[in-house]
């Protein structure tokens, strides 16, 4: 009890705040963008979940939603956007193209955005229904609450390495 209790309760509270105020960066490339617009529209209303307003700068966002096909040409750009986001950050792969490449198996389509960046939640569908998107958002929120996002885990590992004096400062 004591410090661990306070920090774990604090971590819970902070994660609760994070999950209900996600600032999304919709990285829209293709057809899934239409369903993303529909999810943000009044009928399915992503605003109910706190993830309403898209922040169109990666530096102000913490949820990168990869909406649509990622081609090989787009790979470096996706990586750059991901690296510009501050931690903790989460990634949703919206649609089968962003998850695995979809039904495109050719010289230009990357077989999934996770070839380049770590993805927390994958949404299948071509395009997925808005209800699937909201389901995925709730799934992500549960992961955030438990601290299981890739970025959150990486931060914990880094914090422990720092405590143990093992963290090297990059030149």
């Amino acid at each position: 009890m004591g410090l661990e209790f306070h920090t774990s309760r604090l971590a819970d509270a902070v994660n609760w705040a994070r999950k209900f105020s996600l600032f999304q960066y919709p990285f829209v490339t293709a057809c899934c963008g239409m369903e993303f617009m529909a999810t943000a529209a009044p009928k399915y209303d992503i605003a109910r979940f706190g993830a309403e307003f898209p922040r169109f700068s990666p530096r102000q966002a913490d949820l990168l939603i990869i909406v649509g096909t990622i081609t090989e040409r787009q790979g470096p750009i996706l990586l750059r956007i991901y690296e510009q986001m501050a931690e903790p950050k989460w990634v949703i792969a919206f649609g089968v193209c962003a998850s695995t490449g979809g039904f495109y198996q050719n010289y230009s389509t990357m077989p999934g955005a996770d070839q380049v960046i770590p993805v927390d939640v994958y949404i299948p569908g071509c395009p997925p229904r808005p209800e699937q998107v909201l389901d995925a958002l709730i799934m992500l929120q549960e992961r955030i609450q438990k601290g299981e996002g890739h970025s959150q885990k990486a931060l914990r590992v880094e914090a422990q390495a720092h405590k143990a004096g093992q963290l090297k400062v990059l030149p």
């Binding site: 490339t29 617009m37 529909a38 529209a41 898209p54 040409r73 750009i77 956007i81 495109y104 050719n106």
Partner: protein, 416 residues
């Protein structure tokens, strides 16, 4: 501080500052700045490398291809029916129009385009016009949102939802329908479709009227759209423009009127034509086209006959499942059509229809097997986006946003 002996000069906002305003002018040089490929105001991914002098664009290099998903190469490895899902994802805001265009091209090669059942033709027109309405709703809504008008965007999205629900009822998918087949359509209209569509058209007209009222008389919207991105008809034709963008310049070229296909010659509708060729005319042409499409839909619902929805030809159309599961002939027929594809006699065709953005052409070369040898899409927005540097040269960076929005570049179609 001593008072200046020079009289005060007035500087007009939006115009370049006169060079003699200061005794020592500030040194300036043009700057290369990148807009995109991930940018809120670019529909889909496009990269515009701008050479700017302050706020004014001196030159622009538009780079597309960030969504190249190899439609042609995939089509060469797929049977003719397997190409339909790829066509959905071309102009993904009006997927039915792509389906219909491709089906007509293959049917012409097969020589059966005059034998498609009438009911199927009417259904194709109906779902096609519904898709055209969703295209224009999305274009105008998203462009308005980029100028800051969030409410009309929500009104038009609300209207688009009604159409999506009805299209989902008929085809099974909200967006990527793959509903049309070679020889007809995949399934018949559901019961009560006509009444539902009529009810939707009433609500749609109201929603569009509300959104339009917020925009057309809005001073800010007009200032940003009037006389911005102007082009004249002759230049537009030389650059390969078609569709609402060309019609906004005054050239009344619409494939549905000039070279009617399906049953478009039986409907009474007008082709809205602009006069100035600026952004506002493109917006107004699209809004009016929504009304005209609604008119076509009402007439189609009145005229549609009962009858079969697929051609009765075992070489082309799958047999009904009852026969496939119960007779050997049905099963073999089904097997051959799925595995080998529909055998199209060798030849080539260029077939064109009016897509959401203009003349959507399909150039198909067939070699006698069940897979196309070449299946090329003539993308209407490819040549239109090519002209963007001409439209924005000399204008401000902020003018790029409405201009690009009104050109309606759809990544899936432009990059294929």
């Amino acid at each position: 501080m001593e008072s200046s002996s020079k009289p005060l000069r007035r500087v007009v906002l939006g115009q370049p500052v006169p060079a003699d305003l200061d005794d020592e002018p500030l040194p300036t040089e043009p700057m290369t700045i990148n807009m995109g490929p991930s940018h809120p105001a670019t529909h889909g991914t496009v990269r515009i490398v701008l050479l700017v002098d302050g706020e004014f664009v001196q030159d622009a290099d538009v780079q597309v291809g960030f969504l190249h998903r190899c439609f042609e190469k995939e089509s060469e490895h797929a049977t003719y029916t397997q190409v339909f899902p790829y066509t959905d994802r071309l102009n993904y805001v009006s997927p039915m129009l792509n389906n219909v265009g491709y089906a007509l091209a293959v049917e012409k090669l097969l020589g059966i385009d005059q034998q498609i059942p009438e009911r199927a033709q009417y259904i194709r027109v109906i779902v096609g016009e519904m898709s055209r309405i969703t295209d224009h709703l999305t274009c105008n809504g998203a462009s308005a949102m980029e100028l800051g008008a969030f409410t009309p965007f929500l009104y038009l999205m609300k209207a688009r939802e009604w159409l999506y629900e009805l299209l989902e009822e008929v085809s099974g998918a909200r967006l990527t329908h793959s509903y049309v087949r070679i020889g007809g359509v995949a399934a018949d209209l559901t019961a009560g479709f006509a009444d539902k569509l009529r009810a939707i058209l009433l609500k749609l007209r109201e929603a569009v009227r509300d959104a339009d009222a917020l925009l057309t008389k809005n001073k800010i919207f007009r200032l940003r759209m009037d006389d911005v991105g102007t082009i004249d008809g002759k230049t537009a034709i030389a650059w390969g423009w078609t569709g609402p963008c060309l019609r906004s310049t005054g050239v009344a070229y619409d494939v549905r009127k000039d070279h009617p296909y399906l049953t478009y010659d039986r409907f009474d509708f007008e082709v809205p034509v602009g006069s100035r060729g600026d952004n506002f005319d493109r917006y107004a042409v699209r809004m009016e086209e929504i009304q005209q499409s609604a008119k076509i839909l009402e007439q189609a619902l009145d005229q549609i006959p009962a009858g079969p929805i697929l051609l009765d030809d075992p070489q082309i159309v799958l047999p009904p499942k009852r026969e496939v599961y119960n007779t050997i002939e049905g099963m073999i027929n089904h097997f051959k059509l799925i595995i080998d594809g529909i055998r199209v006699p060798p030849g080539e065709i260029y077939s064109y229809t009016e897509g959401g953005n203009g003349e959507l052409g399909f150039y198909i070369v067939s070699d006698g097997t069940g897979r196309p040898y070449k299946c090329r899409v003539r993308p209407p927005c490819f040549t239109i986006v090519q002209t963007l540097p001409v439209l924005i040269k000399g204008r401000q960076i902020a003018d790029i946003v409405p201009t690009f929005g009104m050109l309606n570049m759809i990544g899936g179609e432009c990059d294929r």
